[in-house]
């Protein structure tokens, strides 16, 4: 693929991610651009969106617990 065509496709893909990120922000999904990009790439590789959303929710819970433990440990020091 010529490099011009490739960079045009990349720019279009970036634009699509930007729009999807804005939609996710309007819908209050608490997704940063990097996480959304990873999730889009997973879905485009055949991962089921519902299962992926469940995994994201579970990881968020784990993340909150890790944060709490770190705060607790810092407070004890």
């Amino acid at each position: 693929m010529p490099s011009d065509e490739r960079s045009e496709k990349q720019a279009a893909a970036q634009q699509a991610v930007d729009i999807l990120h804005e939609i996710s922000t309007i819908l209050n999904c608490h997704l940063d651009r990097r996480t959304l990009s990873i999730c889009i790439s997973m879905i485009e590789n055949g991962v089921n969106p519902e299962a992926l959303a469940t995994v994201v929710k579970e990881l968020r819970k784990e993340g909150q617990e890790v944060q709490m433990q770190k705060l607790e440990a810092a407070r004890r020091r």
Binding site: A12, Q15, A16, I19, L20, E22, I23, S24, T25, I26, L27, N28, C29, H30, L31, D32, R34, T35, I38, C39, I40, S41, M42, I43, E44, N45, G46, V47, N48, P49, E50, A51, L52, A53, T54, V55, V56, K57, E58, L59, R60, E62, G63, V66, Q67, K70
Partner: protein
């Protein structure tokens, strides 16, 4: 096999983006990795997103924003959905379905300033 290796690598990226773990917390990382991968691997049995249901859900949300007096939010939402049109591909309904699954009371909580 290559698919699973790729899925495993991208799952690690996802974990790193969401859970603030250091490299010394490898045991926790492995447990999150196994659990996430198990859920994702067996999800192929689920049907793909129904694009008509996704469209209905999106239209319903826009209407809801207007009903609760959040016209600016409804306009911003509609503008993004229209802008997405030329970028649509076969995965767009699935991606929008994923976004809808994570949506958290936007009519009450979303701020346009975000």
């Amino acid at each position: 096999m290559a698919y699973l290796a790729q899925l495993g690598a991208v799952t690690d990226e996802l974990i790193a983006a969401i859970v603030p773990l250091t490299k010394t917390e490898q045991a926790k990382l492995n447990s999150y990795h196994e659990s996430a991968l198990r859920n994702l691997k067996y999800a192929h049995h689920f049907p793909r997103a129904n694009q008509f249901e996704v469209e209905d859900h999106l239209n319903g949300l826009e209407e809801r924003f207007r009903v609760v007096g959040r016209d600016a939010l409804a306009d911003a939402f509609k503008k993004r959905l229209d802008a997405l049109e030329p970028h649509r591909n076969r995965w767009t309904p699935d991606i929008l379905h994923f976004i809808l699954e994570l949506s958290d009371q936007p009519a009450q909580k979303s701020q346009l300033s975000d």
